[in-house]
């Protein structure tokens, strides 16, 4: 059963973030993801995450498929204009990639090529519309395609932003994304289950499954860093204290993430796991969550 079917049947799904390698060698990264074999439903392949240049997720998704994985191709509006975006989507369809996740993308100045020209020719909603158009057999220039792609398209939402305006805008934009063809959502990392549940009360009306991101807290300093630097991510003090006072920090962190995943099971339709360098520890977290 593929990712789309699992979501549609109401299974609680788990996806995992994979960053393509910085370099032409794919073997090492393909080996690293093997720890997730049999443990996740799909691998979400990032597109220049945090504006750091790495291999195109289109190529890496193809290699993952060859190894029997189901990829979710992330596609960002930052680096490509409407011609290139559509071209990549057609290529993805021809390679058999079915799932795409549309993101706006961080600004180029945030990454390792701050001199780059940011594109943003389309925004995420316009890109979802472009996907619908391609699926209908036409490109954005209203030219007829030979062979229509068929995608399972998703988008992202930030459920716990820190101003009223930002939250209302996220909900409006989420609704527009649904109207533009988003059929699942992936969120920013969630730590505060209460706040996330309040968001879901309002977002569940859209009738589109939401996968909450889960990021293991590796240390107190990481938690403080997230609170200070990562928009839309809030780690409650209680969790920071719990980690700070633990004898075995890794064990405490594994248990904490597993607890969050179990809590999310009653609130949304799945989780998107971000290993953030903890590929070796990740299986323990997923096991501990006992999904």
């Amino acid at each position: 059963m593929v990712f789309q079917e699992k979501l549609q049947r109401g299974n609680f799904v788990i996806t995992c973030e994979v960053n393509p390698p910085k370099g032409a060698d794919v073997a090492e990264r393909l080996r690293e993801v093997e720890v997730f074999r049999g443990r996740v439903d799909a691998l979400s392949v990032t597109d220049g995450k945090s504006s750091v240049m790495s291999m195109t997720p289109l190529a890496f998704s193809h290699f993952l498929r060859e190894k029997g994985w189901e990829p979710i191709l992330n596609i960002s509006c930052r680096d490509r204009n409407r011609l290139a975006l559509q071209a990549d989507l057609l290529g993805a369809a021809a390679l058999g990639i079915q799932n795409v996740l549309v993101v706006t993308g961080d600004y180029a100045s945030m990454g390792d090529h701050p001199q780059a020209k940011p594109v943003f020719d389309l925004d995420s909603i316009q890109l979802l519309q472009a996907i619908q158009s391609l699926q209908g057999g036409q490109d954005l220039g209203k030219n007829v395609l030979k062979g229509r792609p068929a995608f399972f398209a998703g988008a992202t939402v930030s459920p716990i932003p820190n101003t009223e305006a930002a939250l209302e805008l996220q909900l409006v934009k989420m609704e527009k994304k649904v109207q533009a063809g988003a059929r699942f959502f992936q969120t920013q990392p969630v730590f505060d289950l209460g706040a996330f549940e309040r968001f879901m009360k309002r977002a569940s009306g859209f009738g589109v499954p939401v996968l909450a991101s889960v990021l293991p807290l590796k240390s107190v300093s990481m938690a403080r860093f997230l609170n200070k630097n990562m928009p839309g991510v809030f780690v409650p003090e209680g969790l920071i204290d719990e980690l700070g006072s633990a004898g075995d920090r890794v064990k405490a962190s594994v248990e904490m993430s597993a607890r969050i995943i179990r809590g999310l099971k009653g609130i949304c339709r799945g989780v998107h796991f971000i290993p953030a360098g903890w590929e070796k520890t990740a299986p323990a977290i997923i096991e501990a969550a006992k999904l």
Binding site: R82, T104, S109, Q126, L140, T163, K173, G232
Partner: protein, 222 residues
Amino acid sequence: MISLEPRKSEDIIREMEKGKSAFLIGCSGWKNFCNPGGENQLQGIKKEMELRGVIFTGNLLVDGLCNKGLDELSLLRKFRQIFRAPQLLAITCEVGLQALGATVGRVVVPALRTLTVEGFEGLLGEKEPCRLCGDCLLDLSGGLCPLYFCPKGLLNGPCQGADQGRCEVDSKKACGWELIYDRLKKEGRLAALKHYAEPKDHSEILPLIRLRSSMALEMMKD
């Protein structure tokens, strides 16, 4: 020189609130710099729009709509007529539109397209809040242009990068979309956020290409 041209009547009608009256406001412009058309343009557009069923509660010509102080004084003169209409149709450049939008606090629909700014580099500073896209969204964004106030130029709402209302690109600046939200909320028009903005027509945006092609046309005539 700012070059302006009238928008198509059907585009204007589409953006105006149906069945609701409007107040028509024109601009005299500034000799040798811009020509929004003054009284003649105002009468022409009034006639054209009335033929299409638009009812105006009144009209007014202002010397320079880009001057907020002047806008406030002028609006006071026609206070009653303006506030009987839920919307204004403004015959001005997009700088004038933004100044008017900030002053009047209600829907301002543009009657002109701002196409190019040529030859006044010394006068027009970096702060000019118009990207000259020729396809104005100001009526839907509370008079604040998302192309200017959002570094990513997102047309359908913010990204997820704002923190405490500050932009991810420059934390000294406010998130443009949160500014738009606050303005629309104040005006009781949050529903405008639900509008789907089509991708920009960049063939309308690049003034240099337009200039080059019009020069090429001129040369072909010789």
